[in-house]
Symmetry: C2
Subunit: 254 residues, 2 copies
Amino acid sequence: MLQEIDQKVQQLMWDVQKRTLDRMKQSYDVNLKTSYKDLVTTVDKENERYLNQRLREIDPDAKIISEEGYGDQVNDLKGHVFIVDPIDGTMNFVMQHCNFAIMIALYVDGEPTYGYIMDVMNDKLYHGGNGDGVFVNNHQLNTPANNSLHDSLMVLNAGLTLDGGHNVREVGKQARGLRMYGSAGIEMIYVITGRIGGYLSYLKPWDLAAGMVLALELGLVVKGIDEQQVNVLSSNLVLVATKQVASDVLELVD
Amino acid sequence: MLQEIDQKVQQLMWDVQKRTLDRMKQSYDVNLKTSYKDLVTTVDKENERYLNQRLREIDPDAKIISEEGYGDQVNDLKGHVFIVDPIDGTMNFVMQHCNFAIMIALYVDGEPTYGYIMDVMNDKLYHGGNGDGVFVNNHQLNTPANNSLHDSLMVLNAGLTLDGGHNVREVGKQARGLRMYGSAGIEMIYVITGRIGGYLSYLKPWDLAAGMVLALELGLVVKGIDEQQVNVLSSNLVLVATKQVASDVLELVD
């Protein structure tokens, strides 16, 4: 049953990638959400309606949490819950036409079960979970080397770095280098492939859910900066990292 | 004469890309230069020796400035001067196997004349100058839209952002978003393609030379934060940006 859902959601991710690439060739509306730094487009909304409709066909009893408001009111993680980000990194989508992702996660009775991150412009679907491992398309990923902060590149949330809260600038200074890509999905991909040792950011459920499944499946650490396990529905400032980077970072942040 | 050199250097860029891709399949040494944040590999050195040798065949009277020490002692820009970066973004090359570039520029009697930036992993050569326009492979690029800082993503130097000098954090706060990719070549590509509105960083001659040719050819601004024209041999903190972003940023920095 779960494996059948997994196969169908993988196919859905390729279908939505193709739709998105086609849609980018036509014009679409761009609107501000909370500020001029927070955009939403017609494509976000169209993708979300499409994904939610297809997910309801695949798994009719599941609930859906999604970014743009077409999902269900969900207060707990009982049963099957899909968490959907129809375009992650909308600013990059609009300004760069690259460095954005589409993400779905399936949580079963609160357990991170399957995660899917589509790197649309690179034709790469990162997927896995449920003890099966993590794959990019058909190629299985290994657990990234357990490097220390000194031997790792870090991604830090831009606003937090500019404001200097939680002593995060010290994390940036001690890392081998600081990177910012502007899409949680792309940044999660960098961590699970070992290209970034740790990623610290404010993450909403749809930013976090898929990457959290894949990171945990690979034995990486997903923690709040209070060192507690993360609740995907109510996370705040989240660290996704190798064990050693997590230990090094959690000693520095306050 | 110059056009013949241009054709030969374009071919050289494709040759060195193929060598680099082949070389990445074998092992190579990684060494620290000035600190644990500053690496050099065997591939940097092999590429530089190869490029310099081929450039001497293409243009025997030219002088060569290059990062790893196999070039000439050059104190002025009289005649033909090639400026070579054999691997730009060596940290990314080592840690990410992507997001690095190979760059060459030709300055003639001090005039920015031809620039070449090879995005190795994406098979894309950005090249042009000398009034011919700027191309990615065979496709001509348009001048990026003259957006303001509020409507643009910015790349800021990571160390400067962490230290807070020159009021750069205010630039990051006013921009639509902050990005950091860790390679001057890749960051120059983002600016000349309009995906980033402005790039502010400390740039050595080999970091700056090729991107400066391409940016100027497209009518973008290349200035020091003292608002002076940049000398490619002795630049310090350099801004490459649309006219409007340059104006907005130069009002903010001190």
